[in-house]
């Protein structure tokens, strides 16, 4: 798909399907990013750099109004793109959205350093990467969800009974944490830690399978 056609896509389109469609074109941003992630493809990185460096510089000027910082931003954002490319997949949306979030995060950190603001929180604390958070597992767009659900179902039986019971209450019966704790007659804190453990394990198993 040409980049001109991509622009016409509604921004709210399910992100997986938009990215998947784009990835069929070997010259799309998504295909380049996947090539960089899969085999450190330097030609692809060169091409992606050419496409995005000026855009990132312009975004830097909008946010910082400073030439040097915007130049630094291009360097840091594209370095992050290179480093994290193996973590990109189509579930994370279009390459443009993914690169935007990395750039936004680097920009936040650069500005804080420049203004000497307390380093209590970094961009990665504020905008956690997808893959964190229970939500990703179950609230994903329909396309990926079907795949994940069948996989999850096959792993689900391997969980310890206590964790399985908690996940069943929350994700199958759609109960709130408080309701689930009451049904299972366990303290809320126990419920939350079992939920975290169980979801973490499921996520690991699903991840290991891919």
């Amino acid at each position: 798909m040409s980049s001109a056609a991509k622009k016409d896509m509604p921004a709210v389109a399910p992100r997986t399907s938009a990215a998947t469609a784009a990835a069929r074109d070997p010259d799309s941003d998504e295909s380049l990013l996947i090539a960089i992630g899969n085999h450190q493809d330097r030609t692809a990185f060169n091409a992606l750099f050419t496409r995005f460096s000026n855009k990132i510089y312009a975004m830097g000027m909008k946010l910082t109004r400073n030439d040097q910082l915007s130049h630094d931003l291009v360097q840091e954002a594209m370095l992050t793109v290179w480093q994290k490319a193996p973590l990109y997949d189509l579930d994370r949306g279009t390459a443009q959205s993914w690169i935007f979030t990395l750039t936004r995060n680097r920009c936040f950190d650069i500005l804080r350093k420049m203004k000497r603001q307390p380093a209590t929180v970094s961009a990665d604390d504020i905008w956690p990467q997808e893959g964190d958070g229970d939500s990703q597992l179950v609230h994903e767009e329909v396309g990926t969800m079907e795949v994940e659900v069948t996989k999850i179902e096959s792993f689900y039986g391997d969980l310890p009974a206590a964790q399985r019971a908690v996940i069943e209450q929350i994700y199958i019966h759609d109960r709130t944490h408080e309701e689930a704790a009451a049904v299972l007659d366990i303290p809320l804190g126990t419920l939350k830690s079992r939920l975290r453990l169980g979801v973490g394990k499921l996520r690991q198993m699903v991840g290991a399978e891919q």
Binding site: Y57, W82, K84, A85, T120, D125, T176, H177
Partner: protein, 233 residues
């Protein structure tokens, strides 16, 4: 998580969060709400896609081509790539606070992990301030059961995220994960029957408008100045 919030950030606030154009304090409180709110997580993803299209659109060349990025590429591709997301490990979010163990959204657990100093204020309120930037005053607030904040109005806006328990004011009853926005023109008197832990972000100091509480005003401005002064060092 499945907690259903009734009160959410405004479209403008969530848009600023997605674009990265709001203060660190505001980013933190919105991030914490988004972690707790499925609806706002979905909206954030759409808003990020919109922001990406807007911020990374092709721009006519506004500067000389001479800006030389060629050296950058060579140095970047020498760097190793990441094969796993270190971020994916679950950080500790259960923290001990005021004799209770509470589970916090990740970003607030990070903020609190630096260590909180609690102060007792009038009316059964405990407060622990944190400095996140030089434009906002951020604090954890714990209202004991039966406590009441003196009537006040704001010079700027105040955002309060309920983390545990609940509180009420003239306009409503707010529970866990609710994101309560008050602007300069609002006057309110929050009270909590069952007790409440909140995280609040003020973009300028409170002014008390009634009775003896007014005596607190210079003190509050002083505290705000101190908090913002600390940020610039």
């Amino acid at each position: 998580m499945i907690t259903e919030a009734k009160y959410h950030p405004t479209a403008e606030q969530l848009g600023g969060f997605a674009r990265g154009t709001v203060t660190a304090g505001m980013n933190v409180v919105i991030s914490a709400h988004v972690e707790l709110c499925k609806e706002c997580r979905g909206r954030t993803i759409s808003l990020e896609a919109e922001a990406a299209a807007e911020m990374l659109q092709s721009v006519p060349e506004t500067r000389p081509q001479s800006k030389d990025f060629s050296g950058i590429i060579d140095s970047i591709v020498k760097q190793p790539q990441l094969q796993t997301d270190e971020q994916a490990s679950d950080p500790v979010t259960e923290i001990h606070m005021l004799e209770h163990s509470v589970s916090l959204p990740k970003v607030l657990a990070k903020v609190a992990s630096e260590g909180l100093v609690w102060k007792k204020l009038a009316g059964g309120i405990n407060q622990a301030s944190v400095t996140l930037d030089d434009q906002t005053q951020c604090e954890f607030l714990y209202m004991k059961p039966g406590s009441q904040v003196p009537v006040h109005k704001h010079q700027g806006s105040e955002v309060t995220l309920v983390l545990d328990g609940s509180f009420s004011d003239e306009s409503g009853h707010y529970k866990q994960s609710d994101f309560v926005v008050r602007t300069a023109s609002d006057m309110h008197q929050p009270a909590s029957e069952e007790g409440c832990l909140c995280f609040a972000v003020l973009d300028s100091p409170l002014t008390f408008t009634k009775g003896l509480a007014r005596l607190l005003n210079p003190f509050i401005r002083y505290r705000f100045r101190r908090a913002t002064a600390a940020a610039s060092h």
